[in-house]
């Protein structure tokens, strides 16, 4: 095997539509892979004019092309070469976002029941949730929904037996090994432990979602009066999100 000339691809390559390819890495999600996926996307968009956009999952990329894929010369071997040369590309600087969250009972319908399920106090649940730093892996499911990794082990839990048919915009949830923020009103099966006044998805802006894959998120506990004040500013359109 040592002398075999042909190098195996570092990813599995599927053409699932004449103009769409899927690349899959056989691994658990991890910070190193996330960094590679972000850098690879940037490099592909720079080097292959045939690629019109890329979407990302935990261990996969989907490449949309503006021509049929079989017209591209020596694809996917040239993708593989590009992947191997990634160290020559600079990675975009990641931003840190602090999201204010009100964890008071009236804003957190499932805080008490989740604390009971986890056998901890509501105060330590909030302390654990605000002490961690979360990484945006990618955005999907709903417009502006961030897939976050980094939930402390003590907060991992079963999803709710019955999903709520209506979850408010800005609700913070925990489900399984994940935590997240509902950017727009939707149904949802996660335990709701707080609410943020921050505008998370703004369709009238050129960049409707503030965060990008690779960014960090921290949650900051705020009082109900602070929440109401910030919510007033959001409604007036004066509340702006800035990274740290």
């Amino acid at each position: 095997m040592k002398h075999k000339m042909e190098k195996a691809l570092p990813f599995r390559f599927f053409i699932i539509h004449p103009k769409v390819a899927v690349l899959e890495w056989d691994t658990e999600p991890n910070p190193r892979l996330l960094k590679l996926l972000i850098g690879f996307q940037k490099a592909i968009l720079k080097e292959f004019k045939e690629v019109s956009q890329i979407t990302q999952g935990y261990c996969s990329l989907m490449l949309y092309h503006n021509c049929e894929i079989h017209y591209i010369n020596d694809y996917p071997n040239s993708l593989c070469l590009l992947f191997d040369s990634l160290s020559h590309y600079s990675f975009t600087k990641q931003k840190i976002w602090q999201i204010p969250v009100c964890y008071e009972e009236s804003m957190a319908p499932d805080l008490k029941s989740l604390a009971n399920q986890l056998n901890i106090s509501t105060a330590s649940l909030v302390r654990e949730h605000t002490s961690a730093s979360y990484q945006v892996n990618f955005i999907g499911f709903l417009p502006g929904f961030l897939y976050l990794s980094g939930l402390p082990k003590v907060l991992e839990c079963r999803r709710k037996a019955r999903p709520a048919s209506r979850v408010d915009r800005g609700s913070i949830g925990i489900g399984g090994k994940q935590t997240g923020i509902y950017p727009i009103e939707s149904p949802g099966g996660w335990h709701l432990i707080g609410k943020t006044p921050y505008p998370l998805f703004e369709p009238k802006k050129k960049n409707p979602c503030f965060a990008k894959a690779g960014d960090s998120i921290q949650f900051l506990s705020i009082s109900k009066s602070d929440y109401l004040e910030l919510e007033k500013q959001r409604a007036q359109g004066t509340l702006k999100i800035k990274p740290l």
Binding site: V20, P143, P208
Partner: protein, 281 residues
């Protein structure tokens, strides 16, 4: 302007959707049957992505507040202009105060109404397609006025199209999805040999099928999806994602419907049956 007197069952303004921002979770959206939508536009010499009104199952009742020209394509909805029947696939002159009304869909489920120059509701994120959360409403609403373009189209010789192919074809061309290869031969054969039925859970987002697939696929790490992706849940339920599909999901992706196949499915609904036909990319 067009005034909406009755909305019909599900009527929404659609163009070819929002492309290029799927990495922020924004669905592509756009007309379900894009072949019919572009046909309606071409009859009026519109741009192929001009916004049209997509009418599903039963159409609306509309009052024109201005003169224009219209064209219909897709399912036959017994359209009547001032109480007189009009045909699909032809350009028709409209005067101010004309009344256009539709009945139930026959030979398909969705009909497209194009107006000269297109519908002009506000563009949000490069598209006029309605989608709740991005646009204020998911459909047109009663008594509201919808802005349309003001172009003077000379219709001395009205364009007309004759369809050579029926849209009632019951085969849907598909490609293999990323997890197709993980299925045992028996399940792969089931996908291509079985007749499938659309359940009553069908919308612009997805069509859930009645028949289940026997499989033991593991769940996958949440991965990208696109319109036409067929997901398979742990109990074997198959869901065909349609134009308003979410951009990521965690169920195995067994098949991918071709663009043409999505257009065909758009004209089908509850209880309609079809077979998948595997084609190569």
């Amino acid at each position: 302007m067009i005034e909406v007197l009755l909305t019909g069952i599900h009527s929404s303004i659609q163009d070819l959707g929002r492309f290029g921002m799927q990495n922020t979770g924004i669905p592509i959206g756009g007309a379900m049957d894009q072949a019919a939508m572009q046909m309606a536009n071409s009859l009026l010499n519109n741009h192929k992505h001009s916004a049209v009104l997509e009418m599903s199952f039963k159409g609306p009742k509309l009052l024109f507040h201005q003169s224009t020209a219209i064209a219909l394509a897709g399912a036959d909805m017994n359209a009547k202009l001032n109480e007189k029947p009009i045909n699909n696939f032809t350009a028709i002159k409209i005067k101010e105060n004309d009344l256009l009304q539709f009945g139930n869909a026959h030979q398909g489920k969705r009909t497209y109404l194009a107006v000269a120059g297109g519908f002009k509701n506000p563009e949000i994120l490069n598209s006029r397609s309605q989608y709740l959360g991005i646009t204020p409403e998911a459909t047109i609403s009663k008594t509201k006025l919808i802005p349309i373009d003001k172009v003077d189209l000379n219709l001395k010789k009205g364009a007309r199209l004759t369809l050579t192919e029926s849209n009632e074809t019951d085969t849907i061309p598909v490609y293999k999805g990323p997890e197709f290869y993980l299925l045992p031969k028996k399940a792969q054969d089931q996908l291509t040999k079985q007749v499938f039925t659309i359940s009553n859970k069908n919308s612009r987002m997805a069509y859930v099928l009645v028949e289940k697939l026997l499989h033991e696929l593991p769940s996958i790490w949440t991965a990208p999806l696109l319109p036409g992706t067929i997901q398979c849940t742990p109990d074997g339920t198959l869901a065909i994602l349609m134009r308003d599909a979410q951009t990521t999901g965690g169920y195995p992706r067994v098949l991918q419907v071709s663009d043409e196949g999505i257009n065909r499915l758009a004209q089908k609904s509850t209880k309609d049956q079809f077979q998948f036909e595997l084609t190569s990319v």
